[in-house]
Point group: D2
Chain length 299, copies 4
């Protein structure tokens, strides 16, 4: 098939590689011309902008948008709204909030343009070699783009999930689960580190990756991480986050769902951003007030 792909960051670049490897014709565009030039060597066609990109596609056009969530997606979708025609298809594969995807689908729908929210998992490696896709949008129109997902995904690795927003909703929840799983694994290794034993963590992650109940890709990545730095002594325990865990907890609050593990996984990430805490000062001061317990002085 022939399609446009806007946004050549790590994910968009690797998806393009994956599409080219499967024989698709890809017109690419990015605000930075460099990745487009590289992809041209591999068979893509680099357009100098979105208008040039859409001009090279025949109706019904298919445009995959893979730019950062938020304003960049809005900007590209708005531009596409002015360039595309009735029956054309936009696939938005980024980490957008599902409510934004619903709003964008409605906006494009008013012009007869079909919008699909395609949550993508599997990391940069998966984007290139076979990822996992959760897709929301019109079920009948989906058949037109299903061949793309069949090629881009690992076997059984894509799902038409339901109406608009359902793809990104599933991706959000996927990431919430991911936060919980990562924190669970990390707490386990913290207990090993504080134990009286002297474990080799790469070995532990390897044995847990082979035949155990907790085997899976995250444990394999744990093995990989420890193979490079046996005690992770080169990095600090700062756990950043990029939004989807927060959205999951916000959604839990809205749905009145009790999700303590996902919530705590997020809150421990926030905690890790600080070396010192105000709540800690308050507790220490109170212990001093009522019991005369010593406090640790600030340096």
């Amino acid at each position: 098939m022939k399609l446009g792909l806007i946004g050549l960051g790590k994910m968009g670049y690797n998806l393009t590689l994956n599409l080219l490897n499967h024989g698709h014709e890809v017109i690419v565009s990015d605000i930075n011309p460099e990745p487009g030039r590289e992809l041209e060597k591999l068979g893509a066609v680099a357009a100098s902008g979105i208008a040039e990109l859409t001009a090279q596609l025949a109706r019904p056009r298919i445009v995959w948008v893979m730019v950062p969530a938020g304003a960049p997606v809005d900007s590209v979708v708005d531009t596409l709204a002015g360039l595309l025609d009735e029956g054309d298809i936009v696939i938005e594969g980024g980490n957008s909030h599902y409510k934004d995807s619903i709003a964008r689908a409605e906006k494009l729908s008013a012009r007869g343009i079909h919008f699909f929210d395609a949550g993508t998992s599997g990391g940069t490696e998966g984007a290139a070699q076979g990822a996992c896709f959760m897709i929301g949008g019109n079920s009948e129109v989906f058949e037109a783009i299903e061949p793309l997902f069949r090629d881009l995904a690992v076997e059984k690795g894509y799902l038409y999930a339901g109406p608009s927003g359902s793809g990104h909703f599933l991706k959000m929840i996927h990431n919430g689960i991911e936060y919980g799983m990562m924190q669970a694994i990390a707490e386990g290794f913290e207990l090993l580190e504080k134990s009286p034993y002297n474990f080799n963590y790469e070995d532990v992650a390897r044995v847990w990756s082979n035949g155990s109940v907790i085997r899976g890709w995250l444990m394999e990545l744990t093995e990989s991480a420890f193979s490079k730095d046996p005690k992770l002594s080169g990095i600090r325990g700062v756990m950043q986050s990029s939004g989807e865990g927060k959205w999951t907890v916000q959604t839990a609050l809205d749905l009145e769902a009790s999700t303590p593990v996902i919530a705590l996984s997020l809150l421990m990430r926030y905690r890790s951003l600080e070396e010192n805490t105000f709540h800690g000062k308050v507790v220490a001061a109170l212990r001093n007030e009522f019991g005369g317990h010593a406090v640790v002085k600030a340096e």
Copy 2:
């Protein structure tokens, strides 16, 4: 190799199958004669008791103990202490507390008997077809029994972990991680269930099992569970536990390790054992006291 195996529950029975399939000679024993009779048809030799079992082994004897943790293990190990000789080897493969394993190793060591604590993961299916083993005990003696683990485990699925107790310590932590992962997955599906969408959970678990970051055996089991009962409407949400999660949290307290996700996974299991709670009554009563908020009357 030739060895004895005491305890033919689900795990011991399946391990015996696994051993027989790899050409080992297994003398089995259980308080219930039935599984031994079945295994005899498949090539095992059933002993009528522990003494008869050890009598059929040549020194250095190898005896694998696979009975329920706690008093049953103590009873079998004490019996073996009286029957085995210097240089003989006991492998304890159950879900014992690592401190109990250290104590048993010391007890047997006084008689020159070697003790290995072999944490076993992979479920009943893994026991039969290839499991994961974490083994603590004397590193030099381990070489004598390593061929057994090489056969019983999936490839790379066994680890000599360190001195006595380290095998069961690793298994305990493994289960703590497992609690956290299971709760994280379960919370994710609770959010799907409370969402405005109408997801097919088997499909969701399948797509997450293929190419996603959270793929792994637990997600495959989730797919399997939903394939049998799409909304799990046949079961109640009672989450029982068999001790290792509790031990992990107790260990975290002793090590002063902050493990909120594993702790909450356990506490939510306890919460699930009750339909009504006393803490809930107290909060409801307090809301009524200060704000006149209505309470839900007991039936």
Copy 3:
């Protein structure tokens, strides 16, 4: 002073009593005429509507709004915007979201009307006999209404907190702390209930109310609740919530603040709304899948 008071629910009614007891002239109004008629017997003047209420006040008029948060406040504030003049003052004493208060202050400010958000704590009893107020708005104009708060509050029980929104922000955080404190107390009594001892909870709450570190009004209310129903056997442990705890957790997410105790207090309230949970079913099903552990069948 002379002022209007709109909204004669439990809180507004009791505040009016409190104002009358301190010699203020109060013009009251409510969509239900009954409480106004009762308050007329005690010295208030009941207006038949908001327009009639404002018509009875001299400029600069002072109107206290005490209606349910959300749409009712918006409705009353919008009506007042059309009736009041430059220099008039609106005090909004309900449990509004602080961002709504900021927006209302800006809206009224455009017409020269001053808006104060007055978070109110102390329950219905406090409203009548002396409450606690946290007030946001213009600091200079505050002096004009300070005498009201001096009369309505217990000694030292009011605070000019800062610009618009700061009053309701403080009240929101107050309620978040309250959620945590209530859950902490409730968990303590749950441990007593599950202990091998046979405590008299009213006695326990009384002794903890007298001289202990955890003494305070919530413990006194606990004593009161147990004095009426020694085991709280008449009520179910359903912990409802009215929004401010949720707002506190949402705010924590926005501020990237790690507030596990307040978050869990809220999540346990949500948990209490269900007798059975979907996450519990998933965990139970998974235990069955990998370990063959029995599940509890649905009835």
Copy 4:
């Protein structure tokens, strides 16, 4: 009444002052002679050791033990067991584990000596001026010592709680609640600190201490702490703990009680002991592995 008091640390010293102020005769003893000398000036009699202390008491002797929990209590109780006679009374007022108190009561009971476990709350100030006592032991013998508690406690501030261990059990739970309340208060102030407002925390704690739902001694102590250091800039947020919170959580695990708020209060204290965490490193490393997200390098 005449009694002995062993242990003149902050609590024991202040209790002696309190006893002297109520006209009791107190024979005191401590391993450090200094506080005994000071108390002699105020009317106490300082004994040079435990034997000399018991020798100055007439049967039935009453000895209050106020030494650090654990080995010191064991040592003193064992010494007393050899010096006291049938019918004598030991009151142990420290922060002992309730199971230790049960064991000590049984040990002394074998010699006919009565043992009371008296959980004490109210801080050092309370010890001197009126504290809160929760007392376990023989109910009939309690009458003999009740006048002491009537004098030492604030009004209604003592409770005969039940058989041996019940006093220290109640004190343990009291401290568990205290951990939760303190963390709740502290989280609230952390939200204020991270908010866009510029609150004066002493003012906030004062207004919350007067008329609000969350008023109580801990809030008054919060006010006091902020009055001395408005932003607590002189101290670090290190939250130490002295055992009773940990015991409460261990008890919750044994009773299968879901106490997330108390548990998290403890876990956040452990978290505060570290500037960097191993679990944080693992999560950061995993994010880097699957998504190429940057890590913060160790310095």
